[in-house]
């Protein structure tokens, strides 16, 4: 061993190369925060849409036999909620992607290499399967299962992904799983659990990760 490479520095190099070659380390805390904010806005939009629907139902001439209007506005409500959810998901994904993209450029790590491919596959697989299950659940009218289902499949995706990126994401996954399972026995509070999981937990996780890895002392 020559004096240019003291053992501590060599060990640090080995650790850095091991991490870089097996995990995607540029996931930004800001991604969590921005996704959480998007989710809270989405939950708020959904909440006000439901409130306006309830007002329509109560104010309508339901008792005079005009049931057609009520079922029309229920269909419209479902459509609007699905649109709100889709917009929320897309904006959350894009904002999360942008922050991570910026960080990976700063770190000089590539955004599309075998490590990222493995991470993407292991995250997307549980989410796509979960999405399929939930679409079928909605087609059969089990709307109550959508919120806990989202939380549970997303939680499983995160736990699965934790092997290929910063390991702490596992705890975010556990949090989503716990909320989703409680929600299964607290059917009806779906929107609140959804806001807590996708909103608050994401923001909490993002702040902790930012504090740990990105903060400038």
């Amino acid at each position: 061993m020559d004096s240019q490479h003291p053992p501590l520095e060599t060990l640090q190099d080995i650790k850095r190369i091991m991490e870089r070659s097996s995990r995607f380390i540029s996931l930004s805390g800001w991604s969590g925060i921005s996704a959480g904010v998007c989710a809270l806005l989405g939950a708020w939009a959904g909440h006000s849409r439901i409130a306006s629907y309830l007002q329509t139902v109560r104010g309508s001439s339901y008792y005079r036999g005009e049931t057609a209007t009520v079922s029309d506005s229920a269909t419209a409500l479902m459509q609007d909620l699905v649109i709100i959810a889709a917009i929320t998901f897309i904006t959350a994904f894009i904002s999360a992607f942008l922050f991570t993209w910026a960080r990976s450029r700063k770190n000089g790590t590539p955004l599309w290499d075998p490590i990222v491919q493995r991470l993407a596959w292991n995250t997307i697989l549980p989410m796509v399967i979960g999405g399929l299950v939930l679409v079928r659940a909605m087609q059969w009218g089990y709307f109550e299962l959508v919120a806990p289902g989202c939380l549970i499949f997303y939680g499983l995706a995160l736990v699965n992904a934790s092997k290929y990126t910063l390991g702490e994401i596992r705890y975010l996954g556990y949090g989503q799983l716990i909320l989703g399972i409680i929600n299964l026995w607290a059917i009806g509070g779906g929107l609140y659990f959804w806001a807590a999981g996708f909103g608050l937990l994401h923001i909490l996780y993002g702040v902790i990760m930012w504090w740990k890895y990105e903060r400038r002392p």
Binding site: M1, D2, P7, D13, I14, I17, M18
Partner: protein
């Protein structure tokens, strides 16, 4: 007392060979091109180090094809894993000895 440096493996003195082993110990199988990209080295430079590691019995070479292009991948051997872990341990012992 034994000289702590004698436990260091000469093969891993080279930064590139040390880098290759660091990658292969945490990844089952890695292609030549991915190694090249991760370590930021040239073809010829990396190839000579890979031959050296193979001759020492530390890595296994798998030659395959993707279409008509050759696709060479590498994985670590039992002996390689042991040698590299011993090397890391020796480095750690040196640090402890310095304190």
């Amino acid at each position: 007392m034994k000289n702590p440096i004698e436990n260091l493996n000469k093969v891993f003195d080279s930064r590139i060979r040390m880098g290759v082993m660091s990658i292969l110990i945490v990844n089952e199988e890695v292609s030549f091109n991915d190694l090249k990209q991760m370590l930021d080295v040239t073809d010829g430079n990396l190839a000579s180090h890979m031959v050296n590691l193979e001759e020492n019995g530390f890595i296994k070479v798998h030659k395959g094809f993707i279409g008509r292009k050759t696709n060479t991948t590498y994985s670590i051997t039992r002996a390689g894993e042991k040698a590299f872990k011993d090397h890391i341990e020796a480095l750690e012992n040196m640090i402890r000895g310095m304190k």
